[in-house]
Amino acid sequence: MDHIEHLEHTESPANMKKQIWNTFYVLLVLTVVDIAFYFALLSSHSIYKNILFVFLGLVKAFYIVSVFMHMKFERKFLASIIILPMLFICFLIWLALTEAGYTFDSRLF
């Protein structure tokens, strides 16, 4: 009970509010961009299109996590605790897709 630590709030309330709304606009624009890209690239079927969408999704995720979920203001170590395990998921995704591709191939022949 000796010393209670509160979260370190570097931002003043007005500033914080502004930041929240800015993030909201960014997310809104990104969603619109998503849809726009979807229709612009409707006839294409390249893997880069998928990469583009995943990238846009990751950008949105970054904004949600860093501002809405306050990750930007937490210790870096907490951020790494949460982010680093995602590498396992990346491995799982890579593996599942490779494996699914192999399954697709072996079913063809």
Binding site: M1, H3, I4, P85, L92, L95, T98, E99, Y102, S106
Partner: protein, 632 residues
């Protein structure tokens, strides 16, 4: 700062010791971590006994495939008609034996018991971060055990697709009787179990990170805590994937989807033709849990062993940082090697190579651990009490079973060894026997802390020698059966002339298993007898350094009657030269080191050498990680 202090108004923290405890709040819905750990332990022991008796039943079948035992008809009824076990029930037995042993005994019974008991006591906390969730964790576990056992009594029998429940066998009720209600109960029980495990693990991690007492730096934590921390992390990251996988399997079974099924005609699959899925998908999702699960089982056992060996060798654990590093490396690598269970399942051979590489790399941190144990024993002053003997036995099993892992991790060799008795021998030695030894070792060591009484030493020693001899007699010959191509999960080998040479061996294994089973009854007798009638324990019976031995023998809600003692040193100050006693508890201040928080400035030179004194703990972690993961 005490994190809990913020929440002084939180129900379960504020009112410790203020209200009178009823029987129910003290013994049944207890929120005290010590009571919860006892509940975990006793449930685990009961489940373990059931699992062991099952193994004896099917060992009898394997030794005497042609003989009928009328006793089976008496105890098994429908499943033991004419004194012979039904082949379907044989499969059910091995399935439930595997499930119970892996999840209910070695996951919940081992890590649940000792994480609960030791984490708050060894890091110096009043209780878990959230005692309420902790209680829920136990009761979810209890519910799931009951569900699992109740599946023994349903129509069609319990799940019988092996503990790995590969679909389509587990997804098509027509394929095997056990894939009916029994399988559904298995899945429900497992989902409840996953919830329990998550609640527990989240609590453990939060407690270790946030609730340590003053001076208990990360680098001063006993290796048990390190092991429990990483076990909990493994559980948090891997169990959800099984949850997702089981969810999809539930849908495949009950709602006509086909995530794991392809080209299954309608008449086999409940009237709906199943196309479009892949059984391999389930295997990936399952083993994404399944392999970390092996280390969820093994790491706590290794942590307990580290503590017991150091205490009873009266010598600091050799290479404390290397031990932490290898725990971290094992934990990390365990997530990227699960495919070695699947080399010949029709997986992409390229991925086979990737997984083979990762698997064999795990041998390096494991080897480091083994050699560090040997280094700790060297020139020690070994007190060969039962827990020390079990710890030594664990190291022996860890070596024997670990080395055969090098065969199985090799994709090429796995072609001929996959699913043979070689595999059975391997995992029973390295994660069955070794982890059970870790658990028993922990029970002997912390029994005085849990129950305030001592266990009988002589019975413990007899238990040890019978167990290690019988375990080796059971599992060592199995390697040779595996090398001769004898497949596992066979009800009998009578259909194969070439396996006739192993008839005698099978009988021998069964006798050894019975000896082992009897030895466990000695232990059970010792355990329950000592609980009530054992010698009264003194406060620090093993002259150990760690913090749990500074709490009073009689349990106290909140653990320490006064202020929580501060920690001034690492936990392995045994036989420090220049001290008259051969142990210095962590709570003993050093010369010139009164305040642990400012100690970085006044720490004596010798202490600085032992314990890294980087300013931030994360820096230590990163440097360790960098050093040890450089191999990956």
């Amino acid at each position: 700062m005490s994190a809990a202090a913020i929440h002084s108004d939180d129900q379960h923290h504020g009112d410790h010791g203020h209200h009178k405890e009823t029987f129910i709040s003290k013994y049944i819905f207890s929120m005290d971590h010590k009571m919860i750990s006892k509940q975990f332990l006793i449930t685990g022991i009961i489940m373990g006994t059931i699992g062991m008796l099952m193994s004896l039943i099917f060992r009898l079948q394997l030794a005497y495939p042609e003989t009928s035992f009328p006793i089976f008809e008496t105890i098994l009824g429908e499943w033991g008609k004419g004194g012979k076990i039904d082949p379907n029930f044989y499969l059910a037995l091995i399935t439930i034996h595997g499930t119970i042993m892996v999840f209910f005994v070695l996951t919940a019974g081992l890590s649940g018991t000792f994480s609960n008991l030791l984490i708050p006591l060894q890091v110096g906390a009043r209780d878990m971060a959230s005692p309420f969730l902790n209680m829920l964790s136990y009761w979810f576990f209890f519910t799931s055990s009951v569900l699992m056992l109740s599946s023994l009594f349903v129509q069609g029998g319990p799940a019988s697709a092996g503990w790995t429940i590969y679909p389509p066998l587990s997804a098509l009720p027509k394929a095997i009787p056990g894939s009916g209600t029994g399988m559904t109960l298995w899945l429900v029980s497992m989902i409840v179990f996953i919830v329990s495990s998550l609640l527990g693990s989240i609590n453990y991690v939060a407690t270790v990170i946030n609730m340590r007492t003053k001076g208990m730096k990360m680098t001063r934590m006993p290796l048990t805590i390190w092991a429990f921390l990483f076990t909990a992390i493994l559980g948090i990251l891997s169990f959800p994937v099984l949850f997702g996988g089981s969810l999809l399997l539930v849908f495949d079974r009950s709602f006509g989807t086909s995530f794991y099924l392809n080209e299954i005609p309608a008449d086999l699959a409940g009237g709906i033709e199943r196309v479009g899925g892949s059984p391999i998908l389930f295997q990936h999702l399952f083993w994404f849990l399944g392999h970390p699960e092996v280390y969820i089982i093994l790491l706590p056992a290794l942590g307990i062993t580290s503590e017991v060996i150091a205490t009873n060798a009266r010598k600091p654990i050799f290479g404390y940082r290397a031990m932490i590093g290898s725990i971290m490396a094992i934990a990390l690598l365990s997530f990227i090697v699960w495919g070695h269970h699947m080399f010949i399942t029709g997986m992409n051979p390229f991925l086979g190579s990737v997984f083979m590489l990762g698997t064999l790399i795990i041998a390096v941190p494991s080897a480091v651990k083994t050699f560090n144990y040997l280094g700790t024993l060297w020139k020690g002053n070994l007190r060969l009490n039962p827990q020390m003997m079990f710890a030594i036995g664990l190291v022996s099993f860890f070596i024997s079973g670990g080395l055969t892992g090098i065969f199985l991790g090799n994709a090429a060799l796995d072609i001929n060894l996959h699913d043979t008795y070689f595999v059975v021998a391997h995992f029973h030695l390295v994660m069955g026997s070794a982890a059970i030894f870790g658990m028993i070792c922990g029970i002997y060591h912390w029994f005085p802390k849990m129950f305030g009484r001592m266990m009988n030493e002589s019975l413990g020693q007899i238990h040890f020698w019978l167990t290690i001899i019988s375990a080796y007699c059971v599992f060592f010959p199995m390697h040779f059966m595996g090398l001769a191509g004898v497949p596992r999960r066979y009800y009998a080998f009578t259909a194969y002339d070439q396996f006739n040479v192993f008839v005698d061996m099978n009988k021998f294994i069964t006798y050894a298993a019975f000896v082992g089973g009897i030895a466990q009854f000695i232990f059970l007798f010792n355990f329950f007898y000592s609980m009530f009638k054992g010698k009264k324990a003194v406060q620090n019976p093993w002259e150990s350094n760690t913090m749990e031995w500074t709490t009073p023998v009689k349990h106290l809600h909140g653990n320490w009657p006064g202020e929580i003692p501060h920690v001034y040193r690492w936990p392995y100050d045994y036989s420090v030269p220049g001290h008259d006693k051969d142990y210095i508890p962590q709570t003993t201040p050093d010369f010139g080191q009164t305040d642990p928080l400012t100690e970085a400035k006044v720490v004596p030179a010798e202490d600085r050498k032992k314990v890294p004194t980087l300013e931030k703990e994360e820096a230590v972690l990163f440097s360790l990680a960098k050093r040890w993961l450089g191999f990956a």
